[in-house]
């Protein structure tokens, strides 16, 4: 083995600046071949390579070929339905030439897995996957080098099948990964870009594959945070105010005395009741009377847009080109419109939950968190404990969508466990989930567009209030443009945060609605107008693929309409075309069909990519057509599923997902992009079907009827 090819770091002579906890971490590992690597800035930019020593100290993922020939992959990412437990294992199996059943994924355990910033933003496939694959390929190289030594042949003579290294044309000469690893402990950092397989050599990658965790989930064996039961555990119920942001004044717990064994716990604004029986804890908590000081109401779900407009003056220019004055002067027609979107809940079926206990000063917790390491940090701060005294364990997550980046329930559970000195389980009720969710913010977007005589866009003004700029970089060719972002801290009366592809759902709805309205006003077909004004080749190809698959020119049934929306998210180009039927008398919208084309680079797991896109589109129909938090100040009125409608079986259209095949390019994000185009495509299809241009999501029957009535 050449030393510049592989840096071997035996534990005895570690002279790298490995931080205390990393070094300790590596020590804990048993024998095997271990490749450590970092999914850091470098890999974020390039997708490959860990070039300096500092990076070694900072590795945040690793894989290990164990003495039994099996492969463990440790990553701080978590599985919450996005399928990475399968797609990552698949990539490793491919590169290491082992069956996928030999790969064990250890995810999100803060003691076993190296630090990771969290599972969000469709980052996993985009950035983790290529690095993991490189690491697996490097482990294979080490194993082949070892085999070459042992079998006494050059490594070019060797090939691997299912974890066994053979001498080519002499199949009796072989050695297994298990034999090669036996008694060895080789730790190496991923050094340079190893040879990654080309698509023609792929055996597993790109093939549909069934999720490896499916069986545990269909048998009820898969464990989620609320499924852990500890000896002597008590169940906690929080006593909550009616209004978000209330401060505790006075607690009257006299009603508790009838519940034997119920214990009241208080710290700051936290008030909770625990009991060994969860039902008693629930009943008892209802008898605790707390006087709360409620914050003054800022706005309700109707006045919020005016409120945002009135209270946010400060803005930042995000993108600018040409001159707006020139744009206005050269436009034959100018169109202005505002677009609105209400607060949306994440509404995962699993509510926020946590089960925890203290053992010898260490807090051990199973928690429905998208960011186990972030939660560890939050807990360490809230309880004033050193980081290494908090241990988050691996567990399945019942859907996150951005809402489980925030883990107030973890802090609540830990504080309660500390106060009562017993293991605690805290599972938020659905009503709490709706109150303490961090909603996708309500937003307002002011737009102006201009077109010249040739149907070319000449002007674009886009002022975004509270939806952020993700995905708003113009992919239309508009010489005179300006995109500004308006925002202000603490402006919202409710908790807000990231929601599956934050903001981009809202801004894509606004942009694509406005593009459509502009095309319609100058009498040009929505597809033709877009193709005529797009600058980005990927987007043009994606749109064409969608239009072909959908059959844009096909004849429409009576009352039906077609709508297009384009968007960009996490490096992926998306084009969605939707067909809806609108009942003009009731305003009821029936989604009939959705075609989604995506250019997401290399599709690592076609099946998983389809699942994710279908899921995103199905969820997206909810925000487009039904979902809106009704509130008055901090009082959330939508507190259950019958007052916060999400997509159901009967509202799910036929969905078809197609991908532009780019097997030799880097994979891009797949968990979020599809969802961003749903609102725009539905709005445009509704307009096409019945002539109602509804500028506010959700596009409800009432809003459609209102527009129709105005004519």
């Amino acid at each position: 083995m050449e030393s510049d090819k592989i840096t071997q770091l035996y534990f005895s002579d570690v002279n790298m600046p490995i931080t205390y906890d990393r070094r300790k971490f590596l020590k804990k590992l048993g024998f095997g071949i271990i490749i450590v690597f970092s999914i850091g800035k470098l890999s974020l930019l390039q997708g490959w390579g860990q070039n300096d020593n500092e990076e070694i100290a900072d590795f945040n993922a690793f894989l290990r070929v164990k003495e039994d020939g099996r492969v463990d992959c440790y990553t701080g990412k978590v599985e919450m339905g996005q399928g990475i437990i399968t797609s990552l294992a698949q990539a490793i199996a491919e590169e290491l030439e082992v069956p996928i059943s030999s790969v064990d994924m250890i995810m999100g355990d803060t003691d076993l897995c190296p630090y990771d910033a969290g599972t969000w933003g469709s980052l996993t496939t985009r950035f983790t996957d290529p690095v993991l694959r490189a690491a697996a390929a490097e482990a294979r190289e080490i194993l082949i080098d070892l085999a070459a030594e042992q079998l006494g042949v050059p490594d070019t003579m060797l090939e691997v099948v299912d974890g066994v290294v053979f001498v080519k044309n002499e199949l009796s000469k072989k050695i297994t990964y298990a034999e090669l690893t036996k008694g060895k402990k080789i730790v190496q950092s991923l050094k340079k870009k190893p040879e990654i397989k080309k698509s023609k050599d792929f055996e597993i990658v790109g093939k549909p594959i069934i999720s490896i965790d499916a069986e545990a989930k269909v048998t009820g064996k898969a464990k989620y945070s609320a499924d852990i039961k500890l000896p002597n555990m008590v169940y906690a119920t929080m006593v909550r105010p009616n209004v978000y942001g209330s401060k505790k004044i006075l607690v009257d717990s006299s009603g508790l005395s009838v519940f034997e064994g119920a214990e009241l716990l208080e710290e700051g604004d936290l008030v909770a009741v625990v009991h060994a029986d969860p039902e008693i804890a629930n009943k008892a908590a209802k008898k605790v009377k707390v006087t709360w000081e409620e914050p003054a109401a800022k706005a309700d779900n109707e006045t919020i847009f005016q409120y945002l407009d009135d209270h946010i003056q400060e803005s930042k220019v995000f993108e600018e080109g040409g001159s707006l004055d020139k744009g206005r002067a050269s436009s034959m027609k100018i169109f202005e419109a505002n677009y609105y979107d209400g607060y949306k809940a994440h509404a995962p079926i699993e509510t926020h939950s946590a089960t925890c206990y203290f053992k010898e000063g260490v807090l051990i917790m199973w928690v429905s968190s998208q960011t186990p390491f972030g939660t560890r940090e939050e807990l360490s701060k809230a309880l004033d404990m050193p980081l290494e005294k908090v241990h988050i364990k691996q567990i399945f997550i019942g859907g996150g969508f951005g809402g489980k980046v925030y883990n107030q329930q973890a802090v609540e559970a830990a504080k309660i466990a500390k106060l009562c000195g017993k293991p605690v389980q805290l599972v938020w009720s659905r009503s709490e989930e709706f109150m303490y969710d961090r909603f996708r913010p309500a937003a307002l977007i002011k737009t102006a567009s201009g077109v010249d005589n040739n149907g070319k866009l000449t002007l674009w003004e886009f002022d975004i209030y509270c939806a952020g700029t993700r995905g708003t970089k113009l992919f239309y060719n508009i010489p005179n443009n300006r995109t500004r972002m308006f925002n202000k801290d603490d402006i919202h009366p409710l908790g807000t945060g990231a929601w599956r592809a934050p903001g981009n759902n809202t801004t894509t709805f606004a942009r694509e609605s406005h593009i459509d309205a502009t095309a319609h006003a100058v009498g040009i077909d929505a597809l033709e107008f877009r193709l005529n004004n797009l600058k980005n080749e990927n987007m043009i190809a994606t749109l064409k693929l969608a239009a072909e698959t959908f059959g844009w020119d096909s004849e429409k049934a009576k009352g039906h309409g077609y709508g297009i929306a384009l968007g960009e998210d996490a490096g992926t180009s998306v084009a969605i075309i939707a067909e809806v039927y609108v009942d003009k008398n009731t305003g009821e919208v029936e989604p009939i069909r959705v075609v989604c084309a995506q250019d997401m680079g290399q599709v690592v797991n076609l099946h998983g990519a389809k699942l994710q896109a279908e899921g995103g589109i199905t969820m997206g129909l909810g925000y487009a057509l039904y979902e809106e938090i009704v509130f008055d100040g901090g009082m959330v009125k939508s507190r259950r599923f019958n007052s916060y409608e999400i997509t159901r079986f009967s509202k799910t259209p036929k969905i078809e997902c197609v991908f532009i095949d780019k097997m030799d390019s880097k994979p891009q994000g797949g968990g979020e992009p599809a969802i961003i185009c749903v609102g725009g495509a539905i709005a445009n299809a509704v307009f096409d079907a019945c002539g109602a241009r509804v500028n506010r999501m959700p596009i409800t029957p009432n809003r459609i009827l209102e527009v129709l009535k105005k004519g």
């Binding site: 339905g81 499916a214 269909v218 009820g220 898969a222 019942g398 996150g400 997509t647």
Partner: protein, 158 residues
């Protein structure tokens, strides 16, 4: 005062000591440690807690434990026989009719109940029979396909 309630759970006779007024979901999950049945809302809106009582799909968060005395309950844990997945479970796996898996137990149990009542459900009947079960991950179309596949297999066996 505690009283004893007896019923059959996944084929086995069971007795639990309860005060009365406990919801069945709590007894199943907490007292009997069968955590495959999930809590999604506690008020009958989502279907994650669906189980079978005397072959009828029922929301265990809406039933008091006293009301199942002498009855036969089947939960997701009771579907596997001799280590083999039930055709509905197999079909859910084959169609990848799940993502996060949190709604899955309830979906499977509700589908099982529907198929026991009518083994020849049409697509429309499946949709209306399943419509009160929610899946935030958006697996609906795959779940419908899975139920159709399972129905075919179950009918062939009969």
């Amino acid at each position: 005062m505690k009283k004893s309630i007896s019923f059959k759970l996944n084929g086995k006779p069971i007795s639990v000591d309860v005060t009365g007024g406990e919801f069945l979901i709590t007894v199943i999950r907490t007292n009997l440690d069968q955590t495959g049945t999930k809590y999604g809302c506690g008020i009958g809106d989502c279907g994650a807690c669906t189980i079978l009582i005397d072959k009828e799909p029922v929301r265990s968060c809406m039933i008091f434990v006293e009301d199942v005395a002498g009855k036969e309950i089947i939960t997701i844990e009771g579907l596997v026989t001799n280590g083999f997945l039930h055709p509905i479970q197999k079909a859910f796996v084959a169609h990848d009719a799940l993502q996060c898996g949190f709604c899955t137990s309830g979906m499977i149990m509700n589908a099982y109940g529907l198929l026991l009542q009518n083994p020849e459900l049409t697509r429309e009947e499946i949709i209306s029979g399943m419509d009160e079960n929610l899946c935030r991950c958006g697996s609906y179309n795959r779940i419908i396909d899975a139920i159709q596949t399972a129905a075919t297999e179950m009918n062939e066996k009969m």
